[in-house]
Subunit: 189 residues, 2 copies
C-alpha cells in the first residue's frame, strides 16, 4: 500500500518550513535584515500610483513573483477623482493584513485550526488638521480600532490569545503605535 502523506500544513501554513526558517535565522541573524521598497509616480491631482516589486533580504536583492501596482487618490468630497482609496485607508489595510498573517502563523504553530478570521479596522481623523485650520488638531488618525472575529477548533480564550500574540509580534502594529523615524531627501529642479 502506498500512503500519500499530506503536506505538513495547517491553516495553509507550512509549519515545518516556518520553524526551519526561524532556526536558520537563529543561526545567521544577519539574514533577517530586510529592506522593502515602494516606487511612487504622481499621475494628476491627488492621484498617484505605487509599484512594489524588488526587496532586499537574506543577504541579496530579491523580487516578488509579480509586480504589484496600487493607485491612491482622494474621493470627490476631498477634491479628488476617486481613482483609488486614500493613503490613510491603505494604512488600515496594512494593519489588518499584518495582524491576520501573524495570527494564522501563530495558530499553526500552536496546533490550532482556524475556520474564519475577519476584521474591520477603522480610523478616526479630523481633517481640520491637514487643512491647517486648527493647530490643536493632529494631521493623522486620532485613534484606530480593530474588531476581530476569530473562529477555530480551540476555546475562546485560546483564540483571543492568538490575537494578543500576533499584536505583540506585528511589524505594522509596532510602526503605527510607536512610530518610526522618516528621512526625506529631495532632488528638485
Amino acid at each position: 500500500m502506498t500512503a500519500t502523506a499530506s503536506p505538513p500544513t495547517r491553516n495553509g501554513v507550512d509549519t515545518a518550513t516556518l520553524f526551519a526558517t526561524i532556526d536558520a535565522v537563529k543561526g545567521a541573524p544577519q539574514a533577517a535584515a530586510f529592506t522593502f521598497r515602494a516606487d511612487n509616480e504622481w499621475v494628476s491631482g491627488t492621484h498617484n500610483r505605487s509599484t512594489i516589486h524588488g526587496f532586499f533580504g537574506v543577504g541579496e536583492e530579491r523580487a516578488h513573483e509579480h509586480t504589484f501596482t496600487f493607485d491612491a487618490d482622494h474621493p470627490a468630497v476631498l477634491v479628488g477623482r476617486d481613482n483609488g482609496p486614500t493613503p490613510v485607508e491603505f494604512v488600515l489595510h496594512a494593519l489588518a493584513a499584518c495582524l491576520t498573517a501573524g495570527l494564522a502563523n501563530i495558530a499553526a504553530a500552536r496546533g490550532i485550526t482556524l475556520t474564519e478570521v475577519r476584521s474591520t479596522v477603522s480610523g478616526d481623523i479630523d481633517l481640520n488638521g491637514i487643512l491647517g485650520l486648527n493647530p490643536a488638531v493632529r494631521n493623522g488618525y486620532q485613534g484606530i480600532t480593530v474588531k476581530f472575529t476569530v473562529r477555530g477548533d480551540a476555546p475562546a480564550d485560546k483564540l483571543r490569545a492568538l490575537v494578543e500574540q500576533s499584536r505583540a509580534r506585528s511589524a505594522v502594529y509596532d510602526v503605527i503605535t510607536n512610530g518610526v523615524p522618516v528621512a526625506i531627501e529631495v532632488d528638485a529642479g
Copy 2:
C-alpha cells in the same frame, strides 16, 4: 467667436473647489470628522484580502465610487505564497501616496505647475524582532527613507518647499512618525 474656458485646474487640481472646501470646513469644523475603514478577510496562511468601500465624512455615511480590494501575503522566503505585497510594503505605499497628493495640492495652491513627481520609499526592518529571536530588536521598521524627484516651473528651493509643506500636513507621515493608539476587540469562539 465662442471662447471655451479652461477649467480652473493646475496639476489636475481643481483649486477653486479646493479653496471652497477649506472655506466650508472653516465655517463648519465638525464636517471634517471622517472615519475610514478597511474590512479584511483571511484567505489562507499569510494571505488575506482587504475591501475598502464605505467611509464616514461631512456628516454622513459615504462610499467610494468603486469597491477596492487588496491582497497581502508574504513572499516564499518569508514562508508565504506571494499573492500580494507584505503588509509593511503597503505602509510605504501609503506614505508615498500621502506626501505626493499633498504636494500636488500645495503646488496648485501656490501657482506652481509640476511636470514630474517621483519617489522611492524604503524601510529597513530586522526580522529578528517579529520572529521573537532578539528582544532588543523592534518588530517594525527601524527607519524609513523617502527620496523625491520633483520637477516643475519653479526654482529648486520653491519645489523643495512644496515637499516640506506636504510633510508638515501629511496624515500618513504623522501616523508613521508619531504613532496612533490602536484598540483591538476580539469576538472569539
